[in-house]
């Protein structure tokens, strides 16, 4: 049925009944949603009630790589995982790379849907069309690296690839992530969804070959992409040496590196200690995802006591913020330690760090006392306290139990006006860009279907000065609605669905990114798209997600920013004085909803949905 790229198979696993079955991947779904994020959004919309309990048995966990994954197209070992998010209650798409995505295609599937709830701790072993439900009783409680090692030994196969949770997911932390090798589908609490299903891990292995529809077109398109990679002034020279760590030097130089729970942007400027060029001294080689010639993942080794000897893949830029600037820490070894500990516990570094920053501000203000913290001195900058608290969060001990579900829930439990200091949108903590100094980036956080997610509509024009589709002024509010739609649709269609590493989108094929995807899709799968139709795939996916969220109860009021960003200007530095007032936000939202073809309350219209072949969703919304 498929000429290439796709296997054409969906695997459905029921944990309650311990059954599994295969079904065909419909061609219309492939054409309209491409793969990856698109598939997971489509299947979640169609199969999971938007008002279900995210930690209940009705929620489903959906894994999907893309048609490029497992071919020789570079940098395509990526996949999306989706479920209704316990952190936000909205769609919860997270993506990850490494090796598991390719192995999932080799195991023979475009999509894996996991349903129900296992009675006992379980892990899945998927190989050659067979699914085994194995006891995870002995590995329940293990950190993520050891979980993977033990499973490989137990299965007598060191080449198995595994996605698993750590103690944080088992204990249903809404900040729990899913770990594969040393990479993570970090955010939205997907680890808790796995934990709620008593599912410790998914292990798979296979030798399915991926076909290519048109070899000649494929070679030409692939060559053009490889040429773009080679000609980039930064991809191999800088990015393969530093990964995302030097972004810290950039955002600090622009005055948008957030610090001290977003009170100290431009004031606390630690790039000389923890920027990418500074921590190069901790470098111990590098690694790559499957099929990637760039290899941007740096290994780093902590040098100074008490962190000596702790080794991690990372820290990436977001973690250099969440355990760095936002908590007032400028000790690179503490950040390395926190990165590794988070991975082992199975916690999202971003939400964990920002939640610790929240606790620190409360402590500095006297809202939390030494009695509340169990004697921990939670001043900004106290990295030892940060590490202790991180471990407590992962195991839900003491104050860690209150903080384990993120800032929104912690603020509700603590009260005393603490919600003013909770830096989240829809329940997901803010990423590493002080968006008061980058308005479209702020609008994308406010409107992303997953909450404050920097990966759903990254405004690379504002942050990196890339003039595609046009140059922009990061301080202006005009035109940002249109730009945000463009960024959201492009990111979803070009990176998260085929799949492809987004760093190539920004740094290697920026000048022809839509054509690149259209050409590779035709060559690999035989499915054809104009560049407009590729845009439309991104638009379609964002609309499906919006409908789900509307049905889950989200309104315009939830497309918001934390109070601090609307009322307190950036205190110092090159972006001093910037903020996004409520009037600014309303201006940008009005423009955004209009270009999206939604009502002024942010609800997709029947016209727009039918234009996207989603008329059935207009029926579900009860639209005229």
């Amino acid at each position: 049925m498929y000429r290439g790229g796709y296997i054409g198979k969906v695997l459905r696993v029921n944990l309650t009944d311990k059954t599994f079955e295969e079904e065909a991947l419909p061609v219309e779904v492939a054409q309209d949603f491409i793969g990856g994020s698109g598939f997971t959004v489509k299947y979640l919309m169609d199969e999971v009630p938007a008002d279900c309990d995210p930690l209940g048995p009705e929620n489903k966990l959906i894994f999907a790589p893309g048609p490029f994954t497992g071919t020789t197209i570079p940098c395509a070992s990526r996949m999306a995982i989706n479920a209704k998010s316990p952190a936000t209650g909205a769609m919860g798409v997270a993506t990850t790379g490494g090796h598991f995505p390719v192995e999932m295609k080799r195991a023979g599937y475009d999509v894996i849907i996991i349903e129900g709830r296992a009675e006992q701790p379980t892990y899945l072993w998927i190989k050659n069309g067979e699914v085994k439900f194995r006891s995870a009783k002995e590995i329940w409680g293990l950190p993520s690296t050891d979980t993977q090692l033990v499973i490989k030994d137990e299965l007598h196969d060191q080449n198995v690839r595994i996605s698993c949770i750590g103690p944080a997911g088992e204990k249903l932390s809404r900040m729990a992530c899913i770990v594969n090798e040393r990479r993570v589908a970090g955010r939205k609490g997907l680890g808790a969804v796995m934990g709620s299903k008593n599912l410790k891990a998914v292990a798979l292995r296979g030798d399915q070959q991926i076909q290519i529809a048109d070899k000649e077109k494929y070679d030409a398109a692939r060559k053009r992409m490889r040429d773009g990679m080679r000609e980039s002034p930064v991809l191999y020279p800088e990015f393969s040496r530093y990964g995302t760590s030097t972004t810290l030097d950039v955002t600090q130089a622009m005055g948008i590196y957030p610090a001290n729970n977003w009170t100290g942007t431009g004031v606390f400027t630690p790039a000389e200690k923890i920027g990418g060029y500074a921590i190069e001294s901790r470098g111990q080689g590098k690694t790559a995802c499957a099929g990637c010639p760039v290899g941007c993942s740096q290994y780093r080794l902590a040098q100074d006591a008490p962190y000596t000897g702790l080794f991690t893949e990372g820290p990436e830029y977001e973690t250099l913020y969440s355990f760095g600037g936002v908590v007032g820490v400028d000790n690179p070894d503490a950040i390395i330690a926190a990165d590794r500990i988070s991975d082992e516990l199975g916690l999202d570094t971003m939400s964990a760090g920002v939640t610790i920053a929240f606790a620190m501000e409360l402590f500095e203000r006297g809202i939390l006392t030494l009695e509340d913290t169990g004697g921990l001195d939670l001043h900004f900058g106290n990295h030892e306290a940060m590490i202790t608290l991180l471990n407590m969060i992962g195991e839900r001990q003491g104050l860690g139990d209150i903080l384990a579900d993120g800032t929104k829930v912690a603020a509700e439990k603590i009260g005393k006006g603490s919600e003013k200091y909770a830096m989240h949108i829809k329940g997901l903590e803010l990423p590493a860009y002080d968006v008061r100094g980058a308005k479209a980036h702020g609008l994308s956080l406010a409107t992303a279907f997953t909450g404050a997610d920097h990966n759903k509509g990254y405004a690379f024009q504002e942050i990196f000065g890339i003039p595609i589709p046009y140059p922009v002024d990061r301080f202006a509010i005009e035109g940002k609605g249109e730009l945000t739609k463009w960024n959201q649709d492009a990111r979803t269609a070009l990176a998260d669905s085929p799949t492809m590493c987004v760093f190539l989108m920004d740094m290697a094929v920026a000048g022809f990114m839509f054509q690149n995807t259209a050409d590779l899709m035709e060559a690999t799968t035989g499915l054809t798209y104009t560049t407009e139709e590729v845009h439309q795939v991104g638009e379609r996916i964002n609309n499906v997600a919006r409908v789900f969220n509307v049905l889950a109860g989200f309104t315009r009021a939830d497309d918001d920013l934390p109070e601090r960003l609307k009322t307190e200007p950036i205190p110092d530095g090159p972006s001093k004085g910037q903020l996004i007032s409520q009037a600014d936000l309303d201006f940008m939202l009005d423009e955004y909803y209009e270009v999206r073809g939604w009502t002024s309350e942010g609800v997709p219209t029947r016209n727009k949905l039918e234009e996207l072949r989603l008329g059935y969703l207009a029926d579900q919304l009860g639209l005229q």
Partner: protein, 95 residues
């Protein structure tokens, strides 16, 4: 007139310091400033002083004047003033 050139990473290495004061004539543009730096720092700086080509999507150098990307101003034709803060670095894009 004098402008302050700030840089990080590779560009900082080429220029010798994170902050360098550069003397240029009145009404100089960013292009003029880059030519002056090429003159002072030599051949190693030349690749960054060139104009963006058709092939590469963006210039090999990212420049901000007083916190604003030159892409949002007049590009390399942006006119500089006494005391301007000019930030330069490689156009990495990740994180």
């Amino acid at each position: 007139m004098k402008v302050k050139v700030r840089s990080v990473g590779f560009i900082k290495m080429l220029l010798g310091d994170a902050e360098v004061d550069v003397e240029i004539s009145e009404d100089s543009t960013v292009t003029d400033l880059l030519a002056k730096l090429e003159e002072e720092k030599g051949e190693k700086f030349s690749p960054f002083a060139v104009r963006p080509t058709e092939k590469s999507a963006h210039a090999p150098l990212r420049v901000m004047v007083n916190g604003r990307d030159i892409a949002a101003l007049e590009g390399r034709h942006t006119v500089l003033a006494e005391g301007d803060d000019v930030l330069m670095f490689l156009p990495i894009a990740g994180g």
